[in-house]
Each structure stands twice: as structure tokens, then as C-alpha cells.
């Protein structure tokens, strides 16, 4: 149990470092997602199952999904070229 805990925490910290050093945004989001999953296992080890479910659904699910969709959107905007955003 202790060993698993240690392993997960190390994994989380390594993920955090990896996110900050990767240049590619897609990769870093995927790493962030993995980190969230590891975090949800940590919540189970800390005897907080409610948190584990929420973290798995929110951190690894919704947040990462929103980040992916943002990247996609940015890509689309770039391909379309300039569309100015001024309006009043």
C-alpha cells in the first residue's frame, strides 16, 4: 500500500515536470490527463472515494476534453486565417 502510494506520488510529480518541459501542447494535455487519473487513485488510497469518482470524471474527463476541444478550435481558426474579432 505504502509502496503504491509512493509510486503514484512519484508518478504525479514526474508528470508535472513532464508537462512543463514538453513543447507539444497535445502531449502535455495527455500527460496532464494521466496525472489526473493517478490522482484519482491517490484519492482512493486516502479513503475518499467520492473524490476519486469526481476527479476521474472532472480531471481526466471534462477538463481534458475541454482542453482538447480548445486546441482543435484554435487549429481551425488558424486554418481559416484571419477573422477579426472586433465588434461593438
Amino acid at each position: 500500500m505504502e509502496a503504491l502510494n509512493l509510486l503514484l506520488l512519484a508518478f504525479i510529480v514526474i508528470c508535472a515536470v513532464a508537462v512543463s518541459v514538453t513543447k507539444d501542447l497535445l502531449t502535455s494535455i495527455i500527460i496532464f490527463m494521466a496525472q489526473s487519473l493517478a490522482m484519482s487513485v491517490v484519492w482512493i488510497l486516502l479513503r475518499a472515494p467520492d473524490l476519486a469518482i469526481t476527479e476521474a470524471a472532472v480531471g481526466a474527463g471534462i477538463t481534458s476534453l475541454l482542453m482538447f476541444i480548445t486546441l482543435k478550435k484554435l487549429h481551425a481558426i488558424r486554418i481559416q486565417g484571419k477573422d477579426s474579432d472586433e465588434d461593438e
Binding site: 506520488l9 504525479i12 510529480v13 508535472a16 512543463s20 502535455s28 496532464f32 475518499a48 472532472v58 484571419k82
Partner: protein, 127 residues
């Protein structure tokens, strides 16, 4: 310092995570990276808070249906989990707002680099 590392494993990990998130936030000029830094900082704080509730050898705070005569010595502290649950939902909403702002910023200034955005905002102001 060393006994801090062994005695407070979770807290130390959480604080290192906090530091990494913080430096991510300050160092990276890229908006998406900044947002990830935020999320990391937030989850570090939650880890820190929840690890306080954990007590070795005790159960998750869910009572069995048959014997509702609980004693505090059986279960971990339930309050931090409640607080963290609140916090997680708060942090996902602020992440969503930051991402929406990023999309709009990119649509207007065509870059994710916050310095360049600042520069172009200034140019647009003076024009």
C-alpha cells in the same frame, strides 16, 4: 528537512506539485500551459488538504446500513473530502473560463503567447 520528507510524504508531494504548477504559470508564455499550471496548483492544494483528513488504518466515511453506531476512531476525517469536492468543481469552472478566453484571444490576436498578445493589444490600442 529529511524527517519532513518521510513523515509528510503526501504533503511534500503536494507542495512540490504546487511549486511546479506555480513556476509553470510564471515561466510559460503559452496560455494553455498556464492553464494547465493553474489546474496543477489547484489539485496540489486539494491533495494537501485531503491528506490531512487521512488517518492510517481507518475506513472511508461511509456507514454500513446495519450497524449505525459509529465511533470516530473507525473513520477518517470526512470534512476535508467535502471541502475538496467543492474545490474541484470550482476549479473546473475557472478552467473552462480561461479556455474560453484563450479561444477568443486567439481569434483576435492569432497567437497563444501572452507577451505577443500584450504587444498586439497595445498596438491595436494605439492605432
Amino acid at each position: 528537512m529529511l524527517n519532513a520528507l518521510t513523515d509528510h510524504l503526501e504533503e511534500v508531494a503536494a507542495l512540490i506539485l504546487f511549486g511546479i504548477g506555480f513556476s509553470n504559470l510564471l515561466l510559460n508564455r503559452n496560455m494553455i500551459k498556464k492553464i494547465i499550471g493553474f489546474s496543477m496548483m489547484d489539485s496540489a492544494i486539494y491533495l494537501f488538504l485531503a491528506s490531512y483528513g487521512y488517518i492510517r488504518g481507518r475506513l472511508a466515511p461511509i456507514l454500513p446500513a446495519e450497524t449505525p453506531a459509529p465511533s470516530v476512531t473507525q473513520y477518517v476525517n470526512p470534512l476535508p473530502a467535502g471541502l475538496v469536492l467543492t474545490g474541484i468543481v470550482v476549479s473546473v469552472s475557472s478552467t473552462a473560463i480561461m479556455l474560453a478566453l484563450t479561444v477568443r484571444l486567439y481569434r483576435r490576436y492569432h497567437t497563444l503567447n501572452i507577451d505577443e498578445i500584450a504587444m498586439r493589444a497595445k498596438e491595436a490600442d494605439e492605432a
